[in-house]
Amino acid sequence: MTMNGDAVKVVPVRHYGRWVAAGFALLIVAMLIHTLFSKLPTGHFACQVVNGVRKCHPDLTWRFSWTIVGQYFTTSEILHGLVRTLELTIFAMVVGIVLGMTLAIMRLSPNRVLSTAAWTYTWFFRGTPVLVQLLVWYNIAILYPVLSIGIPFTPSSWALVHITTTTLFSAFAAAVIAFGLNEAAYMSEIARAGLIAVDEGQVEAAISLGMTRRQSLRYVVLPQAMRVIVPPTGNEVISMLKTTSLAGFVGVVELLGAASNIYGGNYEIMPLLIVASLWYLIVTTILSIGQFYLERHFAKGALRSPPPTPTQRLRRDVRGILRKFRTQRGPLEAVR
């Protein structure tokens, strides 16, 4: 803007309220960091003699026992537990996603038997606690001591294959089945929302090209539904990662189970809970990054330009700040 040919300085609005709130938030962050790295007296005293005078001061140790956390962070027990946790998460999610997709497609079927069956499944598995389901699957041998493969509604003596249930259902298998079947109920709702979100016209265009229902689902509807399905599914994976800690109830030594086994012996409860929490946080962080790129991939064509990656955004921010800096410095340099 110019006035009488001279550049007129623009004064931006000052957001005092925002600054106060930001200051307050910074204060809380500082307090949190401080307390995380604060120290407690151990009850012992360290004494030394300086110039013939004996001086004592209380011995201090980390409040959050960082030394012990460090000691246990990468012990083989914890790492084995972590691997179990990851295995449980992956297997349960695979079961959940595959079955959930199937249920969603059944739910949208014009056949009433199929859609009602899918609805009932979701009603049951969403309506009971996952811990109860886990305990039921773990104890399924009480109801069915022997599993046989044969013809339905015929005497079991006709069956060809008999398996003792307990040999089939280890604690780990019970956990995968319980978490997977429970997850399928939630995934089916997510997948259904995604399928419904795709415009009816897309299906019409696909079938008017001569595609079958199945082809239009596979090549046209699903790829577009993924844009809606992926973000909540990422959430479900992260949620599942933490739900697997319930497997400890039936004796699977996953991450939290491994930590509790250790603190059961040495009573270092807090440090080991911190070890487990840190690992959960690390895996969650990695999953979130993966989710970002997956979402970006499936957003193809839906947005005129894809959202920037974090590195792109950082570069843009830095460039913006530099430009601001340069324009502010501009007149000064002219004076020089």
Binding site: G201, E204, S208, G210, M211, Q215, Y219, G301, A302
Partner: protein, 254 residues
């Protein structure tokens, strides 16, 4: 083989008890352009969708290229065809929609190749070269790697026409192809359609573009409340309408 490409005889169609088509008769000769005009809700789009079997008609006879649409005559009974047969029929009938309905997750080129590859089993290479040929024909050779959301409505509709032509249809159906376009983009789509008509394609066009109908159509049908009210040569029907309804309709749209 019958002379006509499309034969519609006494076709009825209801939605939830409301009769949308109440006995429609219509014939489209090979290589001719037929325009369907009429007020909204008159059943023009429904008729078009019945020809493609996107909707099942309730009664009457509907033939494309001599074959009954969606049914088969065996032992004096009409048997509903299975999905595979219906899909094979549809693959030879091109359809262009009011809202374009391009596949949003695919590039312009992929929109034109997917039907060839997945339905006709054409090799990806052959499909691509055919798609490029068609893009050149609709004047969009430099847009092949864009996504539909990145091009204008008129360009999207031209891609949609190319997508339908890639299936080498014997009949093209257009459902108000220019109604969702900004006025300055209508011309480019109509030009492509005129070019197609000149090349001898059999076309059925639901439209509000009376000038297009006058210039290109061999026959025009005026639908009102589910019946054909008037039909014939567009220059006669559109300039000297016989029925009162068509007169009042034309006075509103022209």
């Amino acid at each position: 083989m019958s002379e006509a490409m499309v034969e519609v005889h006494a076709v009825h169609k209801s939605y939830n008890g409301i009769e949308v088509l109440r006995g429609v008769d219509l014939t489209v000769a090979r290589g001719e352009v037929t325009c369907l005009i009429g007020p909204s809700g008159s059943g023009k789009s429904t008729l078009l969708r019945c020809i493609n079997h996107l909707e099942k008609h309730d009664a009457g006879e509907l033939r494309v290229d001599g074959d009954l649409v969606g049914y088969e005559m065996r032992g004096g009974k009409l048997h509903e065809r299975n999905d595979k047969q219906i899909c094979a029929e549809r693959a030879r009938i091109g359809m262009v929609f009011q809202r374009f309905n391009l596949f949003q997750h695919l590039t312009v080129l992929e929109n034109i190749t997917i039907g060839q590859i997945k339905v006709k089993g054409v090799s990806p290479e052959a499909a691509k070269s055919k798609a490029r040929e068609l893009l050149a024909r609709v004047g969009l050779e430099n847009k092949e790697s864009q996504y539909p959301s990145q091009i204008s409505g008129g360009q999207q509709q031209r891609v949609a026409i190319a997508r339908a032509l890639a299936m080498e249809p014997k009949l093209m159906l257009f459902d108000e192809p220019t109604s969702a376009l900004d006025p300055e983009l209508v011309g480019e789509v109509l030009d492509v359609m005129k070019d197609l008509a000149r090349s001898g394609m059999t076309m059925v066009v639901v439209t509000h573009e009376m000038n297009f109908a006058k210039e290109v159509a061999n026959t025009v049908y005026f639908l009102d409340a589910g019946v054909i009210e008037e039909s014939g040569d567009p220059r006669e029907v559109l300039t000297a309408p016989k029925s009162e309804r068509l007169r009042s309709f034309l006075s509103k749209v022209l």
